[in-house]
């Protein structure tokens, strides 16, 4: 890694970046966790193997896929099931799936497989151990799965149009890590270089799941078609991703982990500022940007949704992409801070979706300025939780005003400003968002309205003298303790707070989901409602046998046919 250029531009302020509409317009970039993983595995020459594929003609059984890096091996253990259609649900309340998985720390022995075969298929109703790092499950895209099996079994290749319309054969409906269900805590793997960047274990699990799904569909086609079965065209296989169906569980995550979320946003903002500070770009760098823009435009053109909100967003983005292509075609991208000028132009002429795409794309020609920032995206600051009770009331007030100044002016007695409440249902602990004034949920409300709570704490502080320590206030008002903690965290993590009302009548949880999923590296966000989104992961990525440094990074952008 070269020494990064010093930042000479200020980062974009949290008041701009942390609005929900902008967070709901984020796109993947060089720092996305999937790309960090594939780059690392290629650079380090990871080796892959399939020690077991014990799946019958009925599609039931297990398989093991191992990935070996410089120091360790991780293995995906996949269990394939025969799922009746009436049991197929992507929701947390489901009790059976087409396939279930765990990422095992090492290479499993027969006793491990035996133990896990009694637990992994049960998901939340099972227990795992410290040897397991993640637990996940997936459902088929019924239409595309049947089409693939039928086509291949009769010696045909699947229809590329049908393939593109769905994009994946299976979608994961949950990937649990960090100690869930008894698995290894994040802390037990966080010191390993390959696991330092957030969600690397989960991303590895999904990467290997994609290999399994490709192998399984071929296996099922052969079981049906025998000798006349076609081998899946590698180009079609490469175009497939793994889908993901994500509900409300992910939205609380970014509110509940303010330091972690800050580190993600801050890394990207720092990257953007560094590239905007570049005075002159080489012709090669300008050409690299133009090439990636063309490929990104193709990705946008292939992005479909049936949801009215997303249809509208895609329409605007499509128009903006045309305007952007026109501007870039004529623009000087080499002199006079070209990326800063381009970004400023985007801010003045394009919508938020396209602005954020430009912000992500200008990072592409600059791996040396950007990629090292991924190392700072984890949350290693466990002491941030501890409140500094010696801080004065005056300083506490200022901290609240700095992150929630906008919220102090909101009328929190108005129904529309607190119409919703986040709660957890006793049904398999499913997170839900309800109507505060129509449902009996207020007493179960989760602390996921930091803005409302900040306004309340600020009001309670009004009667306290400036110089007193906040410790005295907290002893008298334990109900504001979580809010004061957040205010102190925000002082060191300015991008940790959403600058919008998370319980407003018009809040769109899909904005929160997209922000998180964009950092994973997801594309083609396809909302199924205002609180539920499907995405695609790893579409276009090389399979293990094709993973090399030159294929490991830009797979996220579709190839432009020449």
């Amino acid at each position: 890694m070269h020494d990064p250029a010093p930042t000479r531009l200020p980062l974009r302020p949290p008041a701009q970046v942390m609005r929900l509409s902008r967070l709901g317009s984020l796109h993947q970039c060089r720092l996305s966790f999937m790309r960090v993983l594939t780059r690392r595995m290629a650079a380090e020459g990871w080796r892959f193997s399939r020690p077991a594929f014990n799946i019958g003609d009925d599609g039931v059984g297990h398989a093991v896929y191992s990935a070996t890096g410089p120091d360790r091996t991780y293995s995906l253990i996949a269990f394939a099931h025969d799922l009746p259609p009436e049991m197929r649900s992507d929701r947390v309340i489901a009790t059976a799936w087409d396939a279930t998985f765990t990422l095992f720390d090492g290479v499993p022995e027969a006793a491990d497989i035996d133990r896990l075969s009694k637990n992994i298929p049960l998901q939340e109703a099972g227990r795992v151990s410290e040897r397991e790092i993640s637990v996940s499950r997936a459902n088929r895209s019924v239409r595309l799965w049947e089409h693939f099996v039928d086509a291949l079994a009769t010696g045909q290749q699947p229809d590329p149009q049908k393939t593109a319309a769905v994009g994946y054969l299976m979608r994961t409906t949950a990937v649990y890590g960090s100690g869930k269900l008894g698995a290894a805590d994040r802390e037990t793997i966080a010191d390993r270089p390959e696991m330092q960047v957030p969600f690397q274990a989960e991303m590895l699990s999904v990467y290997l799941t994609r290999v399994f799904v490709r192998d399984l569909v071929q296996h099922m086609a052969r079981a049906k078609g025998g000798d006349k079965t076609a081998t899946l065209d590698p180009a079609i296989a490469q175009s497939l991703g793994i889908g993901n169906s994500t509900g409300l569980g992910m939205a609380p995550f970014i509110v509940n982990h303010p330091v972690l979320f800050n580190n993600w946003i801050m890394a990207r903002e720092e990257a953007i500022a560094r590239v905007r500070a570049v005075e002159t770009a080489t012709k090669a760098e300008a050409a690299a940007f133009r090439a990636v823009l063309e490929r990104a435009a193709l990705s946008v053109a292939e992005w479909h949704s049936e949801h009215p909100i997303q249809i509208e967003k895609l329409k605007t983005l499509g128009t903006d992409m045309a305007a952007l292509a026109g501007h870039v075609g004529a623009a000087d991208l080499t002199t006079g801070h070209p990326w800063n000028r381009l970004y400023d132009w985007a801010e003045a002429h394009l919508g938020e979706d396209a602005q954020e795409l430009v912000a992500s794309l200008i990072l592409e020609p600059y791996p040396d300025l950007v990629d090292g920032l991924a190392a700072g995206m984890a949350d290693a600051n466990s002491d941030a939780f501890r409140i500094d009770g010696g801080l004065s009331i005056a300083a506490t007030r200022s901290a609240l005003e700095a992150s929630f100044g906008w919220a102090l002016a909101v009328d929190w007695t108005a129904r529309e400003n607190r119409a919703r409440a986040w709660y957890v249902s006793e049904e398999k602990l499913e997170p839900r968002l309800g109507e505060r004034f129509d449902e009996p949920i207020a007493e179960y409300e989760q602390p996921l309205a930091p803005a409302r709570d900040a306004a309340a704490a600020h009001k309670a502080l009004a009667d306290w003298g400036d110089d007193q320590p906040v410790a005295a206030f907290l002893l008298a008002h334990p109900e504001h303790r979580h809010t004061i903690r957040r205010a102190q965290i925000t002082a060191i993590a300015p991008y940790g707070e959403i600058h919008d009302n998370t319980i407003a009548a018009d809040v769109l949880p899909i904005d929160m989901l997209r922000a998180k999923l964009a950092f994973f590296g997801a594309t083609h966000f396809d909302p199924r409602s205002d609180r539920w989104v499907r995405i695609c992961m790893y579409a276009g990525a090389p399979y293990p046998e094709d993973l090399r440094p030159e294929t490991a990074d830009h797979w996220i952008y579709p190839e432009v046919e020449t």
């Binding site: 197929r88 649900s89 992507d90 929701r91 947390v92 227990r127 410290e130 895209s141 019924v142 239409r143 960090s178 100690g179 869930k180 008894g182 698995a183 805590d185 994040r186 802390e187 509900g247 409300l248 002491d383 939780f385 501890r386 409140i387 500094d388 009770g389 010696g390 709660y423 957890v424 249902s425 006793e426 049904e427 602990l429 499913e430 997170p431 839900r432 968002l433 309800g434 129509d438 449902e439 009996p440 949920i441 179960y444 320590p469 906040v470 410790a471 907290l474 002893l475 334990p478 303790r481 979580h482 809010t483 004061i484 903690r485 949880p509 199924r528 409602s529 205002d530 609180r531 539920w532």
Partner: protein
Amino acid sequence: MSFSLNEVEATAKKAARGAGYSWGLAEEAGKATRWLSAQGLDGCGALAALLQEPRHESPTRDGDIWSANGALCPLASGAALSDFAADLAAGPIRLIEVAHPQLLLPFAAGAARQMGTVLTLACDTLTARTDGAGVDLAHIPSPPGTSDVQVSLGGRMGAALPHQTRAASDPAIWAVLTGLAARTYAPATDASRRLGAGAGLSDND
């Protein structure tokens, strides 16, 4: 049963909330129980015992004496001890009649990290020193009742208890915690089942 420390923290936090603590103190209960478990101490047992008793009091501070009309709650007192850690520079703090005093240890550890020194906790049933990262216990206490506790700066840290990455919890104790945690979950209704999670479309496509 073997639990991950994240499970311990999450369950302890929800249990404390279910028992009626504020979210901020429930968060403290989660971290404290996790910290004790990481030292190999029975954090879950101590928290479960506390949460099954009627709610104890928050301290009233009178100089270096912290007390209440009744036993002191170790979570409220511990949080205050951590918040007022700087006061220890002026001399020891004495807490009168603390329930389940081992629950003060994680908060003392936080104070020790802030002050950059070893802290000593002394009471009828145990003497403990912590440097923030670990704890050195003179003897591992059997479940105590209430006890007066003196907290002071300084002390010589002996060998710390070995750190653990898992928590072994008695199933009966775990059941107490998950039972209390369940009070934070809203009973499902048809409307919430249909609308609350927001997935209205079929997944058989």
